[in-house]
Symmetry: C2
Subunit: 204 residues, 2 copies
Amino acid sequence: MPSEERRELVLDAAMTVFGDLGYAGATTDMIARAAGVSQPYVVRMFGTKEQLFLDVLGRALDAIMQAFRTAIAGDPDLPLQRRLGLAYFELTANRGILLCLMHAFALGADPVIGPAARCGFMEVYQLLREEGGMDAPEASEFLAGGMLANVVLGVRLFDDYDSDPAVQELMGAVFPEKLDLIRRSHPPLKAATPARGGVSAPPR
Amino acid sequence: MPSEERRELVLDAAMTVFGDLGYAGATTDMIARAAGVSQPYVVRMFGTKEQLFLDVLGRALDAIMQAFRTAIAGDPDLPLQRRLGLAYFELTANRGILLCLMHAFALGADPVIGPAARCGFMEVYQLLREEGGMDAPEASEFLAGGMLANVVLGVRLFDDYDSDPAVQELMGAVFPEKLDLIRRSHPPLKAATPARGGVSAPPR
DNA sequence: GATCTTTGTAATCATCCGATTACCTAAGTC
DNA sequence: GACTTAGGTAATCGGATGATTACAAAGATC
């Protein structure tokens, strides 16, 4: 297989694994297995795990930027916010894109990932402001809705959809009109979510 | 020192370290050093690193719930959204609280942390709905603003405040009227953020 | 057909990290 | 003063993990 193609496979796998486990929680071996290659090959393709994450982050940002640009250039009969909302909704079909972004956004203190995440975040904001023609409050409100959607996705609220009416209500507010679609593309892992544990008291 | 007191010190340290590095990225040794105790002592106090994170998560949720309850019971001359917004703003004084939550919210696929994070997230939502008397869209919009604030905090956008006018604009929209205060409590780590790196091409 | 490049893997290394064990000291308690 | 308990550490262990090295097989090139 040509290395370009293999590289895409590895990047796809890495996006999924990083998305579920975070940067530090994912291992190059998991990613390699998910991509069907050996662990040393992953390292040699990208140099370091850190660089692999940066590449995944760049790919996720590219996906968002492209989706937004397409939406901005789309059907002018629909209001812009609606077009962008639909575009964002379509991005949720791939958990990895948005979850890797969220992990990166939470690692601002990292000396390498932090600057890249800041830069990417502001790139998206600038796209909304300049190419989208939004003013600051509009762009900020749109971003806020996106961040909430990311969290709902990241925390896997769908997993409790059937058992918790409050989850149904909240998700209905976060993904208006699109709930059925989003649930179909994110089947629950398992059913019950118990209460959060109290204070630990380990035996000596 | 009584162990209760020591426990609080360790929980404080853990909240900071977990907040900056994430669950998997933080080590029990870093937390121990930050708290001024030995690494085995941290493990023995909480049983496992995972349980320590759960305790930190619970403590962060308690802080939010209490802040919101106080705000709800507060000065009725101010609108509720404003009171809650101010309460949330005060929470940002401790990065750890909100960043640990964000890390937990991004780990929904974890079999132990995921359920706890879902439960905590819904607890906050229910508080806004029931005790706060908000309807679903109001609560959802408020949460969205909070999640954006968390991301701005997590990605350390302040670090680029002086060098990037777009950052100033966005942060002005996210933290209305409170910018000066929030910047004072979050001094930048260092100045410049370079462009995000391109595609990696390691030497063979 | 010998050589070189590309595409890959098996084996291994050095390090880190969570956890365990064994101990230590000081303060109560009898 | 012997004994117990609480608060704490040094040393260490075993497993995981990112990275490195050495090697191999399949084309391309001459």
